[in-house]
């Protein structure tokens, strides 16, 4: 097997094994209801994580995701409460804003040659601040269209439901996989992750690719915010704190190399499922407290970093021998 598939295979193996272990203890975990809920509950995180995967594949990082989700939610709630704008128009408007926001961060990162970490940190403060300025209260969204959207689902045999947002996440992942592996943009992203100087020499349009990557991350964070507002039916400026870290964790557990250049969008989906599964298991168990989620995810994160280090080490040895 090719070495680049090793982290992904390990991730899938760990997921299947842990699912089997959970199912051995609680057979109900196999029911389509649990699977449907797993999709619905993690939809917003998954969509944001797709954007994060592209950013990390290119060797960058985007810390603004959680704040952008909160901003989107508050924006939608305020707009729907104070104007008669149709939610779909509001969706389009807010997506345009978040995409532009991402593109702007990409431009600052590229043209001013600043580290992505600090630029997106400023973006994080800015987006959260904008959310605070719009409203510091939690605003419920009572628009009838929201109820319609929430009522849309595909019924699985066994009573499980793939809700609109759960299905949307799967669609976003499918699109992400296609973009990463079947388009020129995707190839450019991988090239950029291999090294900016090398990518430039190969003829990759570094400027436009960087801007597009952060614009895509902004767009998906906005979409994630819409999904989050559908999920909670409210907009709150303190919502979704720390989602960017959960997304980064999912990407790493999914086998993407944090130095960039190597990894799979599909791995991130499995990373999301593993995090969701830990949470579900803790809910099923009842006696374990939720803080074990954080500790377990931290331990998993560490294990995957070690695994990736090991693989890089082995492949370097192999290359030297050849």
């Amino acid at each position: 097997m090719k070495q680049k598939y090793l982290p992904l295979t390990a991730t899938i193996l760990i997921f299947v094994l842990s699912y089997a272990l959970c199912a051995a203890q609680y057979p109900n975990i196999l029911s389509t209801r649990v699977i449907g809920n797993l999709l619905t509950d993690n939809a917003f995180l998954g969509i944001a994580a797709v954007g994060m995967t592209f950013v990390i594949l290119s060797g960058g990082i985007d810390l603004s995701v959680g704040s952008v989700i909160a901003f989107t939610g508050v924006f939608l709630a305020v707009v729907l409460e104070h104007t008669s704008m149709h939610p779909l128009v509001a969706f389009a408007l807010v997506l345009a804003i978040t995409t532009l926001f991402g593109a702007l961060m990409g431009m600052i990162i590229h043209y001013l040659e600043m580290p992505a970490f600090i630029v997106t940190l400023a973006g994080m403060f800015l987006a959260r601040g904008m959310a605070f300025v719009l409203s510091i209260d939690s605003i419920p969204i009572k628009h009838p269209f929201y109820a319609t959207l929430k009522g849309l689902y595909y019924k699985l045999p066994g009573g499980g439901r793939i809700t609109l947002i759960g299905g949307l996440m799967l669609l976003v992942f499918a699109a992400g996989i296609l973009i990463a592996h079947r388009t020129r943009f995707g190839t450019n992203v991988y090239a950029l992750g291999g090294g900016t100087a090398t990518a430039k020499l190969m003829g990759v349009p570094v400027a436009s690719t960087t801007v597009k990557i952060y614009a895509l991350s902004g767009l998906l964070a906005g979409l994630s915010g819409i999904v989050f507002s559908l999920y909670t039916s409210a907009g709150y400026s303190l919502a979704a704190v720390g989602v960017e870290l959960d997304a980064i964790t999912a990407v790493v557990i999914g086998g993407t190399l944090l130095t960039g250049g190597s990894g799979f969008v599909a791995g991130t989906l499995v990373g999301i499922f593993i995090q969701g599964l830990i949470q579900t298991y803790i809910t099923f168990d009842g006696s374990l407290s939720s803080w074990w989620t954080k500790i377990l995810i931290g331990a998993l994160l560490f294990a995957f970093i070690l695994l990736q280090k090991g693989i890089i080490h082995l492949s370097r040895d192999a290359r030297q021998r050849a």
Binding site: L112, M114, W291, K294, L306
Partner: protein, 341 residues
């Protein structure tokens, strides 16, 4: 001697001007801001309040400066603060003496830093990711220690660290002043600071030229852990309890911001502890100022973001080359020579 003071002041000048500008702006919108009074042998006033409230970020910024100087970053400091606050609270409530509690807490902080340092120096993991592990798991560990509750205590000794006073100054201010001076002297009166900068500029080259890179790297993260432990003790002593969820939340970002405002580049190399401390004070002055002037606190984050972007743009290499023709010819080589003497 005077030349050393002069070069030092020249280095800190932008931060001092920024701080003065902010203080003047606040005192114009809020009269009485600069008033100081003595009650029960302790100084009171908004200025003292800024120094006092800023204590955790100042402490974190001291450790963060050294870590960033090695071209690293420590995202786990907020979580380490939560862990150490939890440890301090649980030890003091289970009947240990104040001395034992402080010793154990500090040891736990240093241990957390050592874990980060080992990941970075020995396993060669990128600092952002290495410290992310503890950032994710840390709050869980802190909750494990407090068993999910907010652990309160009423040991007068521990509370004194948070709200007592010494020679007229609040204890937290005394703690960070003494600690900051100690660390600054340690790195600048020895070759340590230079070696740390060497690692930040080029880790491989400094290893090849005989610097004990792994040891120094681990020591840098251990210092950051120690700073987080002290900050955690102060934060817990201040509210007389350990809150695993909220203690030190997002303070790692404020600490990084303080270091950046202090003029230390995130790309490693040059650093100044005094400038970072000033950076942290500037951030706290902005927070307090916005609060006092009756300006809606909602704008706090936006103003912070605007300031970071402004400072970063000024620092960016692209911007500097574009405006290089504006710069006054410097006598830099001379001053560095003097510094060396």
């Amino acid at each position: 001697m005077t030349s050393i003071v002069r070069t030092y002041l020249a280095r800190l000048l932008p931060q001092l001007i920024a701080l003065a500008a902010i203080l003047i702006a606040i005192s114009m919108t809020f009269p009485g801001f600069l008033n100081l009074e003595i009650q029960n042998g302790r100084l009171y006033g908004s200025l003292i309040d800024i120094l006092n409230r800023g204590a955790p970020v100042v402490l974190l910024a001291i450790g963060m400066t050294v870590v960033i100087a090695t071209k690293g970053i420590d995202l786990s400091v907020g979580a380490v603060m939560a862990i150490c606050g939890a440890v301090a609270a649980s030890f003091i409530t289970s009947g240990h003496s104040l001395f034992e509690t402080l010793l154990i807490t500090v040891a736990v902080g240093i241990l957390c830093g050592m874990w980060n340092g080992l990941l970075v120096a020995v396993l060669d993991i990128q600092p952002i990711i290495a410290t992310l592990v503890l950032m994710v798991a840390g709050r869980g560990i802190a909750q494990l220690v407090t068993e999910g509750a907010i652990l309160t205590f009423n040991d007068p000794g521990l509370i004194f660290i948070g709200s007592g006073s010494f020679v007229g100054l609040p204890m937290p201010v005394v703690v960070w002043l003494v600690f900051g001076v100690l660390v600054a002297l340690l790195v600048r009166q020895s070759a340590l600071g230079m070696l740390i900068e060497a690692i930040g500029v080029n880790r491989q080259a400094s290893t090849l030229s005989g610097v004990l890179t792994p040891v120094l790297l681990i020591a840098a993260y251990m210092l950051s852990g120690l700073c987080a432990a002290i900050a955690g003790i102060i934060a817990a002593a201040d509210i007389r309890g350990a809150d695993a969820n909220n203690a030190g939340l997002w303070l790692e970002l404020d600490a990084i911001l303080a270091v950046v405002v202090g003029g230390t580049s995130l790309l490693g190399g040059r650093f100044s502890i005094a400038a970072s401390v000033l950076g942290a004070i500037i951030i706290q002055a902005i927070n307090t100022g916005i609060l006092l002037s009756g300006f809606p606190p909602e704008f706090n984050l936006i103003i912070k973001a605007a300031i970071i972007v402004f400072i970063l743009v000024l620092q960016s290499p692209r911007f500097r080359t574009a405006f290089a023709f504006l710069a006054i010819p410097r006598r830099a080589p001379k001053t560095t020579e003097q510094e060396a003497k």
